[in-house]
Structure formats: structure tokens, C-alpha cells
């Protein structure tokens, strides 16, 4: 496949920051014509980044720091040394580094084992959820801080994808190409359906919730023990007990994707955790006691601010902050503990 010359010029100008409004509009129109066009664009983009990694002067943080300091001298006090040091943090962060290195190592092994084929696509989200289309037209929605990988064999003999974090997958129906999703120690096999799947980043714990169609869920590598799920059912693997079982999903499992919340006498602590995750915001409680307040309410696709405002007035709390950081202040609830 070749990119037409005029489009290649648009791509190059775009990557070098030279494309104007009209050019960007034309480029986007071309990109939206097909998934192949997008793929070609990303290849050229990678080529561009590779040459830039060699051709462009390396970033020098030390020099940038000096510039920064010089420019903003007034913002800095000279009494920095007077700060008290607490060395205990260092110990803690070493542990964290060691733990995350171990995790990277284990996951790398798992990924290498699963995807012997070298060509690997990685889908990854940071602060916001994102929707991706897989080569076969299946659609995967990744929650914030989640990832999915698949390799070049995807869609040839089968469709195999590995998920960490939360994902919602709508599988394009194709009886000839079984779809396998792997999350922690859980493996599921489907032909066309939609389901939520989740795995922990730190253990083999995993959960699948079926929305429509049929899925078979089993412990990784043991399709003979498969449990068949009906819509609305969930299966989870609990690594600490090595149990694989059918469960009822908790009511807000899909909230990160649908932004619909059902709270029924739910503790504020739990409410806040769900909202924080769904919107990638932070909500602090002025004291942990408030966390035991209970709330019954439903919210559908409202802004986090609007939801928190309702919660605040329902529980006689005061909402402060805005944007991505909020604080709920007030007295603990007594009557409805």
C-alpha cells in the first residue's frame, strides 16, 4: 500500500508542525476514510520519531533546569536547605521500585510467552478511557490506566488479546475465528458477544461480566473446566484462594464506561472511590469519619461536579475545589451509620 504523494506531504508537514487548518482538515478526512489509512499514518509517524531520536539534539534536563531556575528565580527562596529531611521515604521508594521491577519482569515473561510473534500492538490509557477498534472490527474500550496487547497473528487463526485493568469488549461475530481474552489467571472464549473484563495489575485476580451473548470462562490454559456464563452473570478468579467461581457483579462495575452510578445505602468511601476512578479525579474527605456516611441515589452521565454537589447537599457536607480535585468537608453522619 502506498500513500498518495499529496497525502504524504500533508503527513510530513503535520509531523514537523507546519500544517495549517485547511491541511489538517484534509489530513483528517483522509485518515477517517479507512483503518488502513490510519495504520499507514502511524507507520510514517514512527519512522519520523525514529529519525528524530537520532537527528534531533537530545533533551538535557540539567540545562533545562538551569534555564528554568534562571527564568523563575523570584519564585524560589534561598532557604531550601532548611527543610527537614525524612529519610524513611527513600527506603519506601526502593521497595516500590523493586516491587514494580519484579512485576515488569513477570509481566514481560507472560507477554513473551503469550505472544511469540514479535509484532505486538499495545493499547494503553492514562487519565481517560479510550475506545480502540481491533483489526477485525471488534471494539475495545479501555478504562483509565489500563492496557491491552495483541500480536500480528490476531485475526489470522484466532483472535487473542491480553488485558490488564478494566476493559469493555464488543466482539465482532465470527464463528471461524474464536476470540480469546486473557486477564490474570482467567481466560475466556467467545465468538461474538460483549463483556466487561478486569484484571489486577499486581496479582492474578480477574473478573469477567457478560453483557450479551455467551462466553466460556476458565482458568488460564484449562478450557476443559469452562463455566458458561449467561448475560448479567460474572465469573471471577481469586488468586489468594485459587478459586474460580460464578459471582454476582457489583452494581457499578461498568460505571467507568457508562458513567451511570447506582448507590443503594452505599458508604461515601465507596461512592467516592467509584467516582474518582470513573472521572480520573481526586476527591478528598476532610476526615475519614465522613466516609461512613451512607448514600442512596442514581446518577446518569452527569459531570463529577454535579454529582458531588448532590452528594454534598444530601449528606450536609460542603464541596470545595473544582476541575480534577475536590474536597468534601463537614461533620460525620450519626443517624444512618
Amino acid at each position: 500500500m502506498d500513500v498518495p504523494e499529496d497525502i504524504l506531504e500533508l503527513i510530513t508537514s503535520y509531523l514537523s508542525g507546519e500544517l495549517n487548518e485547511e491541511g489538517i482538515r484534509r489530513l483528517v478526512n483522509w485518515l477517517n476514510e479507512s483503518a488502513d489509512n490510519k495504520k499507514l499514518f502511524l507507520e510514517y509517524k514512527k519512522a519520523w520519531e525514529l529519525q528524530a531520536s537520532i537527528m534531533e539534539p537530545a533533551i538535557k534536563p540539567e540545562e533545562e533546569w538551569e534555564n528554568f531556575r534562571r527564568k523563575n528565580l523570584s519564585a524560589f527562596m534561598k532557604n531550601e536547605v532548611k527543610e527537614k529531611r525524612t529519610n524513611s521515604r527513600f527506603g519506601q521508594s526502593y521497595w516500590r521500585i523493586a516491587a514494580s521491577l519484579a512485576l515488569i519482569f513477570i509481566s514481560a515473561l507472560a507477554a513473551i510467552y503469550l505472544f511469540r510473534n514479535q509484532e505486538v500492538e499495545i493499547l494503553q490509557t492514562q487519565a481517560i478511557k479510550e475506545i480502540f477498534t481491533l483489526p477485525d472490527g471488534s471494539i475495545i474500550t479501555l478504562a483509565p490506566n489500563s492496557k491491552a496487547i495483541y500480536d500480528g497473528s490476531y485475526g489470522k487463526k484466532e483472535r487473542k488479546i491480553m488485558v490488564t485493568g478494566w476493559a469493555y469488549i464488543k466482539v465482532e461475530k465470527n464463528e471461524n475465528l474464536p476470540f480469546r481474552a486473557l486477564a490474570g489467571n482467567l481466560e475466556i472464549l467467545v465468538s461474538g458477544t460483549s463483556f466487561y473484563i478486569q484484571s489486577s495489575a499486581t496479582s492474578q485476580d480477574a473478573l469477567v461480566v457478560l453483557e450479551s451473548g455467551k462466553v466460556k470462562a476458565y482458568r488460564k490454559g484449562n478450557p476443559s473446566d469452562a463455566i458458561e456464563l449467561k448475560p448479567g452473570q460474572a465469573a471471577s478468579y481469586i488468586s489468594s484462594k485459587d478459586i474460580f467461581t460464578i459471582t454476582h457483579p457489583e452494581p457499578n462495575y461498568a460505571a467507568w464506561n457508562t458513567l451511570r452510578f447506582y448507590f443503594n445505602n452505599t458508604s461515601l468511601e465507596e461512592v467516592v472511590t467509584l467516582i474518582e476512578r470513573a472521572y480520573s479525579i481526586k476527591v478528598k474527605l476532610s476526615s475519614p469519619d465522613i466516609g461512613t456516611c451512607r448514600l442512596t441515589a442514581t446518577f446518569d452521565n452527569q459531570s463529577p461536579e454535579a454529582i458531588l454537589q448532590v452528594i454534598a447537599s444530601a449528606l450536609h457536607l460542603k464541596l470545595e475545589g473544582g476541575n480534577t480535585e475536590f474536597v468534601l468537608k463537614g461533620m460525620p453522619c450519626q443517624s444512618n451509620k
Binding site: 529519525q51 533533551i59 533545562e64 500492538e121 479510550e130
Partner: protein
Amino acid sequence: MKKYQPSLNRRLTEEDFKNLFLKEFANLKNYAHSIVKENETSSDIVQEAFLALWENREKFENERNPKPYLITIIRNKSINYLRNHKKYHPDLEAIEDWEQHLTVQSTDQYTQKQLKAKIQETLDHLPPKCREIFMMNRQKGLKYKDIASTLGISVKTVEAQMAKALKAFHDNLGEFIMLLLAFLMKIFF
């Protein structure tokens, strides 16, 4: 259900701040650059974000991690920059996946050497005029219109020559694009 990580009960000192700056600057700049596509603009944006962090450091007392704050500011500033210059399109944001640039992308020395050799080879095989234009843009950081007026040619010609250079890199670097992907896998997992 577990909630907040234990807070570190201390202030963000200048020493912490400097360490954070040195540690995160390159990644954050790559992130800003992936959005605005301009070298100096991306440095400026990251510096502005760090300044905002420093000025609001009280908010980060007892806080665990200022990085998401920096990322949000950089993202907003970068998108505003694009908007102000009429260069923003939401579809490009979705296609490009800017966030991936927040992760260190480096390769081992051997691969780096090979990549360098391949890029040099590609450069050597570019037609002289194409190479000259490409170097003026990538190494000296000249804008297309400055290159055009220096060489007495049209901007259209500069565009065409730059595209020619990119095609050559694309066609010659296929194996490295694969390697990069394989390496990314190890970093992420």
C-alpha cells in the same frame, strides 16, 4: 474496598521539586512535543507546568504524586496552543495516542548504533537537495518558509522534498519500527 494510598506527611521541598524536574522533564517534553510538534514550544509548556506546580505546591502537601497534575496542565496548555494556532483536531488526538509518549522509549546501545547507521545511510542516499532541506529543518530547526526564502525556492517545493525524505526513512526503517514495538512491550509489561 481499599482507598487512598497512605499519604506522605511532608512538603514538596525544592530538592524534591528539582529531582522531579530532572527525572520527568524528558518524558514530559516528549509528551508535549507529541502534541504541539514544536521543539521550543514543548520545552516552554513543560517549564510553565513545573512553575505552576511550584506555585501551587501547598496543594501537594500530604499528596502522593504531582505527576498527573503536570500531565493535565501540559495537555491543556498544549491543546490551547494548537487551538490558538488553529491546529487542533480531536480526531488526530484519538488516532495519535499522545499519552504513549509519557513512557520512556529507548533501545539498547547496539540497536541504537544500528539505527544510527541506518539513518545515516538513508541520509547519504537522499538526493543532495532533499538532504539539504531536510537537515535545515531537522538539525537547524528552520521553518519551511525560512528554508524556502534562504534557498530561493517555493514552500511547496520544501514540502515535497520533506515528504520525499520521510518516505525514504519509512521505507528503510521498517525493521526498527518492529523492534521498537517489541521493546515497548517489555517496558510496558
